[in-house]
Symmetry: C2
């Protein structure tokens, strides 16, 4: 599984680039992407050689008010088909489901009736049993599945290892390293990556990387994971995502050596859609408060609020962050 | 020399953090920093535990019109003393001199008469003999010296090794890896770093790292170099520097584990000086055109022009970049 780690001059055929712009980016603008945006992103990703496009969340409309979110919070089959038709391309379609935020039995039809290819189940470490039950349900319906274990920087390594054992024995196809707080350094990615890859080797699972850019390390951590043998790599256009955002899809398209990846379609999309989106006031990307939440391994929510209120008394912010006792 | 490589939990006592805000940042605003800025940055760096502060260039007024630049382009002794007095602190004062752009015999007095501690000589690989002559001159005047070999991503490894041999035999104290175009990946930093460190081991020289943020890898590359055993680490406040800028001093102060480093003074400085400076329209930092010049190992000048003219036809820019034949 790790034979194909390659180097900077080789194309690693086993790499799968996943564009999560509408899912992680959707958190920033309440999933209010226009159909024109979605259609163009879909065509862009196909043209750029992106392997998987994640459209958004499968969330329960009983739990979330559909009036407050764009449709990609719910990713109904007809809405996805409205963009991709029968998706007669080589690119796979993914959606994410959070433990406890979706009624799978209502949401998930047989794969035969769906253009969705992959269900990614996002869970905190203490939700692994629920997550694996959900993944098994999707697997039995005919889908490929991934388990995204969030906020691992908050957990003990021994607990993580037990969770990985459980995931290893499950039908899940890909297990993701998720640096939710953007707090891991490349040195830690190598250590944590080895732990995941050992599970991957033992149980024949693929490993994935989902990085956040709080310390401007999302791209570095993603390519470090890639060099280790982590094959599923998440990124978003212009890094759009919660708080400091993600690894940039355009950086990955430039970095990856497989000739099927092309950066030009992404560059066009940045000009046509991401720059105008930023001009409407939708805000994400590296800023000092994210450096601090990343540094102290804290949820970015306080930093997001701080930036929204146009504050820059960083020392006060830091004191608040450290004031837990 | 590399015994003290440490890990994320240990303080590496041999690390020297150099704040180059007024030197590399000065390239962005023609060195037009107010005295208030310079005084506050000096006090900030002392309070933050920064080991070396670089004030600017020693450039020849015969070659550069003093009316067009702030005084830190020339770094006259009296101007530095106006800020630091006799510099009764533990922080060292550095200035940079470019090969061919300074008349050393006019510019460099005996160390006894100067508050400058370190001369950093910047040179392209083909200027090494001149650079080493300059370094020897400064060394003989009583200064510590560094050699910053620029744009190494454009050079052959075999040529670089020969240059390092020459530098090894010279009186130079520190030899810097300079990723002028922000084109190196952490994987390459490890390879190149090993080459420099072999010279360091052989000739008892310190090695330094000066990174640029074109691909958002300046911080990652700097801490990777640090982990290898590179001890002299350059950074600037808010990453201020040519084009995409540099590794951020505040990120380094957060990362480094020696208790003498404190991030709070830097956070105050960002609020009081760097944010207002940005609001005056002085521009630097990561942007798509820099990703492309970094990716294709090109000088950032075209990207700087492109951004100045508020263009975002990135594909056209990329085509121009590749159109060399």
């Amino acid at each position: 599984m790790r034979e194909d780690t390659g180097n900077l001059q080789t194309a690693r055929k086993s790499v799968r680039l996943l564009d999560a712009t509408m899912r992680d980016g959707g958190i920033v603008n309440a999933f209010a992407f226009s159909d024109k945006f979605a259609e163009s992103l879909y065509r862009t990703n196909v043209a750029a050689g992106v392997d998987i496009m994640e459209f958004g969340y499968k969330a329960s409309e009983k739990m979330f008010d559909a009036a407050k979110f764009g449709k990609w919070k719910f990713c109904k089959e007809d809405d996805i088909r409205g963009i991709v038709g029968e998706n007669k391309t080589n690119m796979k379609i993914a959606v994410m489901a959070d433990v406890g935020r979706v009624d799978l039995k209502e949401a998930v039809t047989d794969k035969n009736n769906s253009v969705i290819d992959i269900y990614r189940i996002a869970a905190y470490l203490n939700q692994i049993p629920s997550a694996l039950e959900m993944a098994e349900y999707c697997h039995n319906k005919g889908y490929m599945t991934a388990l995204n274990i969030m906020a691992i920087s908050k957990n003990q390594e021994s607990d993580l290892k037990r969770a990985l054992e459980e995931a290893g024995k499950s039908p899940v196809d890909v297990i993701y390293i998720v640096d939710s707080f953007g707090s891991l350094y490349p040195e830690e990615i190598r250590r944590v990556g080895e732990i995941y890859l050992e599970t991957g080797d033992k149980y024949n699972k693929q490993i994935g990387m989902h990085a956040h850019n709080n310390q401007q390390l999302a791209f570095a951590n993603t390519i470090e994971a890639c060099a280790l043998g982590v094959n599923y790599l998440d990124s978003t256009m212009a890094g759009m995502g919660r708080g400091a955002g993600n690894c940039h899809t355009e950086a990955m398209l430039g970095f990856l050596k497989n000739p099927k990846y092309r950066i030009e379609p992404a560059l066009l999309f940045l000009k046509e859609f991401m720059n105008p989106l930023k001009e409407t006031g939708v805000t994400w990307g590296y800023d000092v408060p994210y450096l601090l939440t990343g540094l102290f391994n804290a949820h970015p929510s306080a930093a997001i609020e701080f930036i929204k209120s146009n504050r820059d008394d960083y020392v006060g912010f830091l004191n608040g962050l450290l004031d837990i006792d």
